[in-house]
């Protein structure tokens, strides 16, 4: 069998990646439409605590009598939102940082990469915990003073997204720098330089288009990492807070009420399935994209 030339064609021949893309599309649709289509009051606190799954409540109900299916879809919204926006921030930061380091090279490069090494070895989630709990009240007060009362409830999500974005860029920066280093000594860049193009032009028109494929691969792989980080922070009580929901928060709630005597298994199982399915699909898709796009893997 001959190798398909276009990376997209190659991707379409990878069944795991195609199935993953479909799963992700369904999950995103359900997350966007689900809570809108739900009957009124599905997310309200009721007296029907811990009802097992039934035709009335497909996933059962939680401690406060809220429908778990509704909560899981609401959680999907926030977890995916945090994942996608957080990963996009890290995408932009990583590309800019990596390109500067790779393009300038020499001493600047080694200092910048040394810094990345240092940041790699700092337990960043520990710092995020401290950072978010320190800054959240400040941001809240600031919002109230600016008359943005309706956004106050979202201050934690905003902080979470921004700080995760600004801490997840390290791998991206490393990969992009490596790519730039190998690209910039290639003939088309030399040719562009020899006809007198300036640096901005070379970076934007010659290097950037060649980086997009690889960068997309790692963007796909960063989303699950950010979703995991968010769930970690929510699990420890510093992330999303009720009445909002995220998968991490749902799982954390479940872990608190589940024990051998009272088997409220649905509280753990359904959010876990939704989250794992999404993360596995994202990782499969990312792997497929990497096989298709990353030249080092092409044999």
């Amino acid at each position: 069998m001959t190798e398909p030339r276009s990376p997209w064609l190659k991707l379409r021949k990878n069944p795991a990646a195609v199935v993953s893309a479909i799963v992700l599309a369904c999950m995103a649709l359900a997350a966007i439409l689900g809570p809108m289509l739900a009957p009124d009051g599905a997310g309200e606190v009721t007296r029907n605590s811990f009802l097992p799954p039934s035709s009335q409540h497909l996933f059962g109900t939680d401690l406060n009598g809220r429908d778990l299916l509704y909560r899981v879809l609401l959680g999907a919204r926030i977890s995916l939102l945090v994942g996608v926006i957080g990963a996009s921030i890290s995408f932009v930061v990583g590309i800019i940082y990596g390109m500067i380091a790779g393009y300038l090279g020499g001493r600047v490069d080694s200092v910048m990469m040394r810094l990345v090494d240092v940041l790699y070895s700092i337990p960043r989630l520990i710092f995020l915990l401290v950072l978010i709990s320190a800054l959240d009240p400040l941001l809240r007060r600031q919002m109230e003073m600016q008359g943005l009362q309706e956004f106050v409830g979202y201050s934690k999500i905003i902080l979470l997204i921004v700080s995760l974005g600004f801490t997840e860029w390290l791998t991206m920066a490393r990969i992009i720098r490596g790519q730039v280093l190998s690209l910039k000594s290639q003939q088309f860049v030399l040719a562009a330089r020899s006809i007198g193009q300036n640096h901005t032009n070379i970076i934007l028109r010659h290097l950037l288009p060649n980086l997009v494929g690889v960068a997309l691969v790692y963007l796909t792989l960063t989303v699950p990492a950010v979703v995991l980080d968010e769930s970690f922070l929510s699990f420890l009580g510093t992330g999303i807070q009720a009445p909002l929901a995220s998968w991490g928060l749902l799982l954390s709630d479940a872990a608190q009420v589940i024990n051998p005597v009272k088997g409220y298994w649905w509280l753990l199982v359904f959010p876990a399935i939704a989250m794992s399915l999404t993360l596995v699909a994202l990782n499969f898709l990312g792997d497929g994209l990497r096989d298709a796009f990353d030249p080092r893997q092409r044999k």
């Binding site: 090494d117 240092v118 790699y120 070895s121 700092i122 337990p123 960043r124 989630l125 520990i126 710092f127 915990l129 401290v130 950072l131 709990s133 320190a134 800054l135 009240p137 400040l138 699950p224 995991l228 769930s231 970690f232 699990f235 420890l236 009580g237 510093t238 991490g248 799982l251 954390s252 479940a254 872990a255 589940i258 051998p260 298994w265 753990l268 876990a272 989250m275 794992s276 993360l279 596995v280 994202l282 990782n283 499969f284 792997d287």
Partner: protein, 306 residues
């Protein structure tokens, strides 16, 4: 070699200084004092407390005093666990986290390298595919899903292992496996990819041509080179295990430093929080230095002198 270590030693001091400064001022930004309770304390008692815990005076003065105490190895008193020093608390809880992390570290590096090498040696067989699928699952599942799942299976259904707690060898199995799972998987993937690349090289063909057994070629000749990317991951691995153990400790109710860390954030227990962060970072930076030196020994092509 000595110059390299000296250089990294200086870097270590700078990093720690930055970490201390950042942590100190971040904690100061946190709203609410450490002695805020439902009922307001009388002014003179609060003042006494502030003096006792060295929280009086201008901020910069507090900061420099704190730096001075740190230089003497004094992490100060915890404001929540009255009269207990941070040194004392960490002295009791860190070894617990350390044992858990150490076992997980061995499982992750040993198991990961073995699985990865095995998968690479049997590329395109069902063993390879199953191992890599399992690895992807383990990477995608958060530890607070894997942990309760393992408890459900091994502690509640099969009843062969305890649900949690600390003190028995058996009780260590589930937590350390939970903690190690995603990193074992990551290292297996790393080893497999690097091994596949190494196996295409000429010296491997030579080794095979000499008539060496396949096991010898793979586990002796190829693995020595294929292991290098794994070695450079050992530093970040330690960082991840430290963070990860916070969650695992809370799932299995293990009295490690992680629980104190989370509570210190919630209790505004500044010195305990700063103590944990500083000790963690110091351990990690030292560990990374050790990994770099190890790397130089394993790969003679890399010189530590420049």
């Amino acid at each position: 070699m000595l110059r390299f270590i000296a250089k990294r030693g200086i870097a270590l001091v700078i990093i720690l200084f930055c970490v201390v400064t950042l942590t100190f001022f971040l904690i100061h930004l946190m709203p609410g004092g450490p002695f805020d309770r439902e009922r307001k304390l009388p002014a003179n008692i609060e003042k006494q407390l502030l003096v006792k815990y060295k929280l009086d005076g201008p901020l910069l003065e507090q900061y420099f005093n704190y730096l001075g105490d740190l230089l003497h190895g004094d992490l100060r008193l915890s404001t929540k666990y009255r009269n207990r020093s941070v040194n004392e608390i960490l002295g009791e809880s860190l070894p617990v986290s350390g044992i858990l992390g150490g076992i997980a570290f061995c499982i992750a590096s040993g198991g990961g390298i073995f699985l990865g090498a095995m998968a690479a040696a049997r590329q395109h067989t069902w063993i390879d595919r199953t191992a890599m699928l399992a690895a992807l699952l383990a990477i995608s599942l958060p530890s607070f899903v894997i942990g309760p799942l393992l408890v459900l299976i091994f502690a509640i259904n099969l009843q062969i292992l305890p649900v949690g707690g600390w003190g028995s060898l058996k009780g260590l199995i589930l937590p350390s496996v939970t903690l190690a799972a995603p990193y074992t998987a990551y290292i297996a993937r790393l080893t497999r990819a690097s091994m596949l690349e190494v196996l295409t090289q000429d010296y491997i063909r030579t080794a095979r041509a000499k008539g060496l057994s396949e096991d010898r070629v793979i586990y002796k000749h190829a693995l020595r080179v294929a292991i290098l990317p794994v070695v450079s991951f050992l530093g970040p691995l330690a960082a991840n295990l430290l963070t990860g153990s916070i969650v695992v400790e809370s799932i299995f109710s293990i009295p490690g430093a992680g629980g104190f860390f989370v509570n210190s954030v919630l209790n505004r227990d500044g010195f305990l929080l700063a103590g944990v962060v500083i000790v963690y970072c110091a351990l990690l930076v030292l560990f990374n230095l050790a990994v770099d030196i190890l790397y130089g020994f394993l790969d003679r092509r890399i010189s530590l002198y420049d």
